[in-house]
Amino acid sequence: MVTQEFNEQPLPGVVNKESAAVRIEGLWWRYPTFSEKPNAWTLRDIALEVEPGECFGITGPSGAGKTTLCRALLGIIPYNARLTDEQLPQHFRGAITIQGQMMTGQTANARRLGMVMQDPENQFLRMSLLHELGMGLQIQGVPNEEIIQRAHDALQWVGLGHLWRGALYMHPADLSGGQKQRVAIAAFLALRPEILILDEPTSDLDPVGKREVIETIARLRRDHRMTVILVEQDPDLLAAFCDRIALLHEGRIELVAPPASFYAQRSLLESSGTSVCELARISWRTGYTYESRPPLTLSEGEAAFTQPLLRHVHAHAPVAADTATEPVVQAEGVYYNYTDGTRALKGVDLTLYQGEMLALLGPNGSGKTTFAKIIAGIYRATRGTVRVLGQDLAQRKVRARLPSSVGYVFQNPDHQLFCRKVRDEIEYGLKNLGIEQARRREIVDSTLEAVGLTRYADEDPLFLSKGQRQRLAVAAVLAMGPDILIVDEPTTGQDYRSITSIMSLLCDLQRQGKTILVITHDMTLVAEYCQRVVAFRDGLLAFTGTPTELFAQQEVLQRTGLRPPMAAELSTRIRERHPGLPTLLTVEQWSAALS
C-alpha cells in the first residue's frame, strides 16, 4: 500500500472522526474482470474527511477514478457489485463512514446521500416531469402533499418553475438536455439529502445556467447545512464554491487544500493535467501574485495584475483584425419546424467564410444545433435558402453527397462508431462515397497518422479511452475530406489535456484552409480559438461578431445566457477604470501583455 504524502499531514479545517460527514480510510478498489488477470486498482489508498456542511470539491483528469469514488460513497461499490465474501477482499479494502456510521451492506442505501450524475438522460427514470421529481420521495413514503410542495420548490430553485404547470404531461423528450440536467438536480434537491454528491452535474448547461444551478446548491447548503461533494473539471466553479478541493490522479488523492493553496501547487497540477483557473495560469506564467499566491477571484486578479499591466501596456501588440475570405455557407431566412410543431429556427441569415473558426453559442434549446444540422444536410430547412459551397441544399441529391463537403462530429463519440476496428471505422464513410480501395487505404493510413491513432488501427473502437474515441470520431469524418467541419461540444466533460489535444487538431485543420464550426458552451475555447462568434436566442440570431465584441456587450451576454471567461471579465473590469488599456481575452494575451 502506498502511503499518502499529503493526507498524512493534518488537513486544513480537519474534523474529528465522530463529527465528519464523510470519512474514508485506506480505500482501495478494483473492478472485477472476466479474465484471470486482475484489473489495476482504480482507487488506491484513498483517505479523506469531509466536514458537515462543507462544500468539498474533487477534480482531476479523465479516468482518475472520480466517478468510482462517488459510487463507493453511495455504497454501489462494493455492495451492488455482486462479489462473494471470498472475492470482496480481492477488490475492496478500507472503510467508509457516513455521519459516524460505518458503511456496510445493510447501511449502504441509507438515503442520507444523493448523487447527481453527468448524463441527465440516464437519470430521468420516469416518463413525466411530475413523477420524476416525486420518485425519490415516493420511495421514502413521504405524503403526496409534501412531495408536491418539495417538487415545486426544487423546480423553482433550478430555474424551471415555469414547467410546473402541466408537469404531469411533460415527457422527457419534451425537455432539452440542459432542462433535463436541471430536473436531475431538482429531483435530488427535493429529496433534501444530508450529503449531496454532484458528479459533473452542469456539463451540458450554458455558462449562466451552470452558475445559477451551483449558486442554488450553495445557498441550499448554507440554509440546510447540507454537505456537498462537487466533482468538477471547471476550476472557476471549484474555486468559487468549494471550501476545500482534492486532486485525484491515477486513483490516488495527491492533494487536499483550500482553493487558494490548491491552485498554488503548479507542478502537481500541471503534471497531472488538471484544469486550472485562467487567473492562476496568468499568474504562473508572469510571476505576478496576490498575497504570494495565484489570484482566484476578479478582485484578487485586479489587485495582482493592474499595476504590472499599466507598466507593460506599451508592449502589447494589437490583436490582428480578421480578413474576410470566400463565403462557403450562405443561409437566408432559414426556418425549421420539428414534427411535433416546435419552431426551432425563425428566420436565420448567416454567412460562413472559408478558413475561419466560428463558434455557435446560445442557451440550451436556442436552435444552434438545429442550424448546424441543416448546414450538414441532416435536416432540411422548412423554409429559406441554404447554399453550401455554391450548392442549394433544397435538392435531395446535394444533401446526400454533402458529407464529402461538410463533416459533422456529434457530441458523444459512442453514437458515431459503427465498426469493430478503428481502420474500418475511418473507411466506413469513404466506402459510402464510392472511393476505390487503393485510395481508401492511403486515406485511412494518413488520417490515422494525423490523429495519432496508427498503433490502434486494428483495435475495437469501444475499448479506446473517451478522448481517443473522440479523436477517432473526428478522424472518421475528416477522412471524407470535408471543407467545412462542424464539431458539437468537443470539450464537454473532457480534461485539460483532452481539450488541448482536440483543439490543436482543429487548429491544424483550420491552418489547412478548412472552415471549422464549433457548437460550444466553453467560453475559454471561444476566446482562445475562435475568430468569430454567432449567438442564438429563441431560434434567432442575437449576435454576430468577434469574441472581443461579444464579451464587451453585457446586454447580449445576458440575453444569450453567456458569460465571458475570467481573463476577459478581468480585462473588462480593469478597463472600466483604465479605458486606455487593451482588451485581453486569453491567458496568452495576458501573458504577452504582462511580459
Binding site: F124, Q138, W164, R165, H171, S404, G407, F418
Partner: protein
C-alpha cells in the same frame, strides 16, 4: 404561483395536472395525441375493455360459418368513432388509413381466392395446367438482362426487378416473343382461381370487420401512455417488481429510440445516402446501427442502475401511489355498460342482425 394553489393536491384543477400552456398535443405510446382527446378522458381499463369487447363482437360478425354483413356494418361505426375520438394527429391518421387500405384489399383478394365458398361463380381463371414446361423464353432473357444491367448501373436490385418485370409484361402484351420448350413434366394438379358471390361477400364482411378492429386498436394505443399503464397495473395490485420492470422498460425503449435517431443522423453524416444502395447494403447499414446501439445500452444500463440506487430504490420498497392511478368515473361505468352489451352481442344466444333483418322483411 401561490402556495394554496400548489397544495390543492386532491383537486383536478391543480396546476401540475393541467395541460401545459400552449401545448395542444401530449405524447402517448406511439406518436402523440390531442390533450383534450375525448377517448383519452375515459379510464384506461374502460378503454381496454371496450376495445376488446368491440373486437369480440366484430369477430362474431365476421365468423366464416355465419357471416353477418349488417352486424359488421353496424359495428364498423363504433370502431371509426373511437378512431375519430382518439385525438390522433391528422397527418398520422392519414398515414394509418393509407397503410390500412392496401392491407384490407390484399386481405379481400387473398380470402376470396384461397377460401372457396359454394355459390354463383363470378370468376373462373385457370392459372396452372398441371405441367411444368422446362425451357427458355426470350422474355426471360430480356428480364434477366435488364435486372443485371440495372444492378451494374445503379447497384440496386429491387427497383431493377420491378422495372424489368414491367418492361417484359408490356412487351409480351404487344409482341409475340419466341419460347423454346425442351421438356414437359407433370407436377401437382391444375389450379384455377374461382371466386363465387358468397366468397366475395364473406371477404367483404371480413374486410369491414378487420378495418374496424385495426382502427379501434390504433385508437387505444394512441390514447394510452406508459404512466397510465403503470397506474392501471398499480390499481390491479400487480406485484411491485413487475411494475418497476415495465416502467424501466418503457424508459429504456424511449432512450433507445432517441439513441437510434442520433445514430441514424450520424450515419447520414457519414454519407450512407451518397449513392444508391442495394437492398443488401441497406440491410448492412441497418445492422451496423447495432454496434453503437449496444454500446450505448450497456453504458446506459449501468448508469440507470446507479441512478435508481442513488434515489434509494430497492425491490423491497413499496412506494405509495403518486398521481399514477385515477378513480373510475361515471363515463367509465357507461363504457363498461356498453362493453357488456357488446359482449352479449359477441357471445349471447341470439341470431345475427342480418337474419333478424331478413325475418323482419
Amino acid at each position: 404561483m401561490s402556495r394554496q394553489n400548489i397544495l390543492t393536491t386532491g383537486a383536478a384543477d391543480a396546476p401540475f395536472l393541467q395541460p401545459p400552456p400552449g401545448k395542444r398535443f401530449v405524447r402517448s405510446f406511439l406518436f402523440s395525441r390531442r390533450i383534450d382527446a375525448p377517448l383519452a378522458q375515459v379510464h384506461l381499463l374502460a378503454r381496454i375493455v371496450l376495445v376488446f369487447s368491440l373486437s369480440a363482437a366484430l369477430l362474431r360478425a365476421i365468423n366464416t360459418d355465419h357471416p353477418d354483413l349488417l352486424g359488421a356494418i353496424v359495428l364498423w361505426f363504433p370502431g371509426i368513432l373511437l378512431f375519430a375520438c382518439s385525438g390522433i394527429r391528422p397527418r398520422v391518421a392519414r398515414i394509418y388509413v393509407l397503410l390500412t387500405i392496401p392491407t384490407l384489399f390484399s386481405l379481400f383478394f387473398t380470402w376470396a381466392v384461397f377460401n372457396p365458398v359454394p355459390g354463383t361463380v363470378l370468376l373462373r381463371q385457370p392459372v396452372y395446367g398441371g405441367t411444368l414446361h422446362i425451357g427458355v423464353a426470350l422474355w426471360e432473357i430480356i428480364w434477366l438482362a435488364l435486372v443485371v444491367a440495372y444492378f451494374l448501373w445503379r447497384r440496386g436490385l429491387l427497383v431493377g426487378i420491378l422495372l424489368a418485370s414491367l418492361v417484359t409484361f408490356v412487351l409480351t402484351r404487344f409482341v409475340a416473343l419466341p419460347a423454346w420448350t425442351f421438356a414437359q413434366v407433370a407436377f401437382f394438379h391444375p389450379l384455377t382461381v374461382l371466386i363465387t358471390d358468397q366468397g366475395a361477400l364473406l371477404s367483404l364482411i371480413k374486410m369491414i370487420g378487420y378495418s374496424s378492429m385495426i382502427l379501434c386498436t390504433v385508437a387505444l394505443v394512441m390514447t394510452s401512455s406508459d404512466i397510465e399503464l403503470i397506474g392501471l397495473l398499480r390499481q390491479l395490485r400487480t406485484p411491485q417488481p413487475v411494475v418497476f420492470f415495465l416502467s424501466t422498460v418503457f424508459r429504456a425503449l424511449n432512450l433507445a429510440f432517441t439513441d437510434y435517431e442520433t445514430i441514424y443522423q450520424a450515419q447520414i453524416a457519414r454519407a450512407i445516402n451518397a449513392r444508391p444502395r442495394s437492398l443488401v447494403r441497406r440491410l448492412r447499414d441497418l445492422g451496423s446501427i447495432a454496434v453503437p446501439m449496444v454500446a450505448m445500452m450497456i453504458r446506459r444500463s449501468s448508469e440507470i442502475g446507479d441512478a435508481f440506487l442513488a434515489r434509494g430504490y430497492s425491490l423491497r420498497n413499496k412506494s405509495a401511489d403518486f398521481y399514477e392511478t385515477s378513480p373510475l368515473r361515471s363515463i367509465d361505468w357507461i363504457m363498461f355498460g356498453i362493453s357488456l352489451c357488446l359482449l352479449y352481442f359477441a357471445f349471447g344466444p341470439h341470431p345475427t342482425l342480418t337474419i333478424l333483418l331478413q325475418r323482419g322483411i
